[in-house]
Symmetry: C2
Subunit: 391 residues, 2 copies
C-alpha cells in the first residue's frame, strides 16, 4: 500500500509543484490539489485487496498522500456507517434515503478526516507549527491531531462560535485566539501570522492535503453502496471541501476503473442566512459573491466566501446537481424529526441536508425510488448547545 | 449466524427460565443471565468465520440473544477502536497503555451496546413500552433505539444529571421524568410504574439482555488484542454491567476454545464521592453497602448501590483484581492531560480509569511491560459541560 502521489497541481491554471516540498497556494492564488499516478495505484488498489484491509480511511493508501504509514497520526478513526432511514425516509416520500453519520469520528465531526491526513502529511513534511481559521470543528480536529503529533496548533475562531469548541481547543493545548467577526476575519489574522512567522498555513484549501482526507468519504460510500454511487448526494456546504473531496474521490475511482463512469447529482445545501453558493448557482455563475450579514444556527456552514467556490459550482453543474438554502426553523425542526423517528442525533448542518432532500422530493427533482445519501457532518451533541441554549 | 441462546438462568440461585418469554428478575430477586449452547456456538463462531463478518457488535450473533437478525434495531454501530497512548503511556510509566474509545458509538457512549441488543430483543419479544431509571447516558441510548424501533420509552432521571441528557431524551421523543434524588430514587419510581402498568422494566440487570450487548466490548477487545486478553482491564464502575459483561464474554470465549484460559486482572474504578464497591473490596465483602452522600462530577458512576455488586466483586476476587477510588480533581486533571498528550476527549468516568492506572503503576501493582486497557465509556463532548460550566 504505497502512495501513488506524483505531484500537486493548480486547480485553476494547472501549474505543477513537487509534492514532497511544503506548498500552499499556487502562485496564481488558486488551491493546489494532489495528483496521483493512477495506473500505478490501480495495480494494487483493487476490490480484493480492500477486502483484507482495516475498516478505516487508511485503507485507501495508494490514493492518499502519506509516504510512510508507520508515521501516521491517527486517533484510530473507523469508517463511518451509512444508516438507512426506514421511518423518516418513507414519511418524506423516499424508498431509499440514507445518512452517512460522520459524527461518529474522533472529535465528533468529519473534520477528523481532513485532520488525520492533513496533520500526518504536515508532520511527514517536517512542519512543526501551523495556524488556521475555523468556525469550530475543523480547529478542534486539527488541534487534537496536532496534540497527538506533538505539533503546535494556533487556532483562530470567531468569538460567536459555540463555546464547546473553545473548550475543546484549549483542552488539547492549542493556542486559541478569538476574533470579533466571521471566519474570513479569522482567516486574515492567520494570513498575517503566517506571513510574519513563516509557519504552515492550514487554512481550507491553502494546503493540498486536508481535502485528501475528506475525499475518503467518497471512497467509503462507494464501497458501502456496493461499488456504485447513489443517485443523489446532499452535502452541507460551507467551505465545500467535503463535496469537492467526494467529487475528486469518485473521479479517481472511475479513472482507475473501480466504478462505472456515472456520477451522483450533487446538492450543495446552505442556510438561508448564508447562501452564497446557492445565489451563484441560481445565476449560473462560476464563482460566488461574498455574503453579507451572515446569520444561522448552522455555524459550520456559515462561510460567506469559500476559496473553493468555483470547484463546488463546477461539481454542481457537471453532475446536473443543484444548490438549496433552508431556514434555521426548518433545520431545527428536522433535527427533532430525525431524532424521534430514527434515534439519530444529527447536527444542524446535517439536518439541513434532510430538509433539502424533502423539498427536492416534493418538487419531483428527486424521484421516490432514487438512492439518496445525506451527509451528516457532525455530532448533535455539539449542536445541542445552540438550539436549546440551556446547557 | 444463529443465536445459540438456550435459556436464562439466575446469577445467584441458578434457577432456569424460558428465554423466549419476557422475564425480569429471578423469583429470588437476583438478576437473570442469558445462557447459550456453547457447543453449538463453537461450530460456527470461529476466527475464520469472523474474518468475513461486518466490523460491528452483530458479528458475534451466535452468542447474542437475538433470534432473527433481520429484525435488529441498529444505528449501524461499529466496533470501537483501541487507541495506543504513545505519549501519555510512557509518561505514566507504561510500555503498552491503551484506551478503548466507546465514545464513538451512536448516542456517544457504550450504553449504545446495551440498548442495541436490549431494545432489539425486547422488540423481538413483543415489548411495546418500557421504563428505566438512568443517570443519563443509558436513558439516552435506550430512548434513541426505542425511537428507531417505534417502542415507547419512559425514562426517569435525577434532576441533577447533565442537562444534555434531558435534551437528548426529549429530542428523541421519550417520556422523561426528573426526580429530586439519585438513581436509586429514580429506580423506585420506575418500579412503581412497572408494577402499576405492567410495562417492561429495562432497569440495569432487571432484564437479561442489556448485559449481552455490553459483553461485546469483551469480544471486540479479544480480537483487537490478537485473540488474547490484556494483562489488566480498568473499568469505570457504577452499575458495573460493563465489567460483568466483559467478564462473561471472556469466559464464553474460553469455553468455546477461542482463547486460552487466562483472565485479565479487573480493576473497578470509582469516584471518591461514591465508592461502595471499593469499600466492599477493601473489606473483602461479597456485597456492597449503600453509599451515602454521593458527590462526584463523574455522574455516570454515581451509583450508591449496584444490583450486580456481588458479580462485580466476584470478578475482582476471581481475577486477582482490585478496586480503586479517585478524586474529582485528579480525573479532571487527567481529562486535560490525555487531551493535550493524545488528542483524545475522554469522559470524566474514562479519565478516572487512567488516574487509577497511573496510581497502580506507581505502586508497582501494574508492571511497566504489562498490556493495560482502560475503558473510556463515553464522549467528552457530553462531559464538557460539567467541568467548565460555561456552556
Amino acid at each position: 500500500m504505497t502512495s501513488a502521489l506524483s505531484h500537486v497541481a493548480c486547480s485553476r491554471c494547472g501549474a505543477r509543484y513537487d509534492a514532497d516540498e511544503i506548498v500552499q497556494l499556487c502562485a496564481c492564488g488558486a488551491p493546489l490539489l494532489a495528483r496521483y499516478d493512477l495506473e500505478k495505484a490501480a495495480r494494487t488498489l483493487t476490490r480484493d485487496a480492500l477486502g483484507g484491509r482495516e475498516p478505516a480511511l487508511w485503507r485507501y493508501g495508494e490514493l492518499l498522500p502519506l509516504r510512510d504509514h508507520a508515521g501516521r497520526v491517527s486517533l484510530e478513526e473507523r469508517m463511518t456507517p451509512v444508516v438507512p432511514l426506514r421511518r423518516l425516509g418513507p414519511e418524506l416520500g423516499f424508498d431509499a434515503l440514507f445518512v452517512k453519520d460522520e459524527g461518529l469520528l474522533p472529535t465528533g465531526s468529519f473534520k477528523a478526516r481532513g485532520a488525520a491526513i492533513g496533520v500526518s502529511r504536515a508532520k511527514e513534511l517536517g512542519v512543526r507549527a501551523f495556524a488556521m481559521p475555523t468556525n469550530g470543528n475543523a480547529g478542534v480536529a486539527w488541534a487534537a491531531y496536532a496534540a497527538r503529533a506533538g505539533i503546535e496548533a494556533r487556532i483562530v475562531m470567531p468569538k460567536d462560535a459555540p463555546a464547546i469548541h473553545r473548550w475543546e481547543c484549549e483542552t488539547v493545548g492549542a493556542r486559541l485566539s478569538l476574533v470579533d467577526g466571521f471566519i474570513g476575519d479569522a482567516g486574515r489574522i492567520v494570513a498575517d501570522e503566517v506571513a510574519k512567522e513563516g509557519i504552515y498555513d492550514a487554512s481550507t484549501l491553502k494546503e493540498p492535503y486536508r481535502i485528501e482526507g475528506k475525499k475518503t468519504m467518497g471512497f467509503e460510500l462507494v464501497e458501502q453502496f456496493g461499488w456504485s454511487v447513489p443517485d443523489v448526494i446532499l452535502y452541507p456546504t460551507g467551505g465545500g471541501v467535503g463535496l469537492i473531496g467526494i467529487d475528486k474521490a469518485l473521479r479517481e475511482l472511475q479513472e482507475i476503473g473501480l466504478i462505472a463512469e456515472r456520477m451522483p447529482r450533487f446538492v450543495a445545501v446552505q442556510a438561508e442566512g448564508c447562501a452564497p453558493i446557492v445565489e451563484a448557482w441560481k445565476e449560473h455563475r462560476t464563482v460566488s459573491t461574498p455574503w453579507e450579514k451572515t446569520h444561522t444556527v448552522a455555524f459550520g456552514i456559515a462561510v460567506p466566501k469559500a476559496i473553493g467556490d468555483f470547484l463546488v459550482l463546477d461539481a454542481l453543474y457537471r453532475t446536473d446537481g443543484m444548490a438549496v438554502a433552508v431556514s434555521d426553523a426548518e433545520l431545527l425542526e428536522m433535527q427533532r424529526s430525525i431524532a424521534s423517528r430514527e434515534g439519530l442525533f444529527v447536527c444542524a448542518e446535517g439536518a439541513a441536508t434532510l430538509v433539502a432532500a424533502g423539498r427536492l422530493r416534493e418538487s419531483g427533482w428527486i424521484e421516490r425510488g432514487e438512492r439518496v445519501l445525506a451527509i451528516n457532518t457532525g455530532s448533535a451533541l455539539k449542536a445541542a448547545a445552540a438550539p436549546t441554549g440551556d446547557r
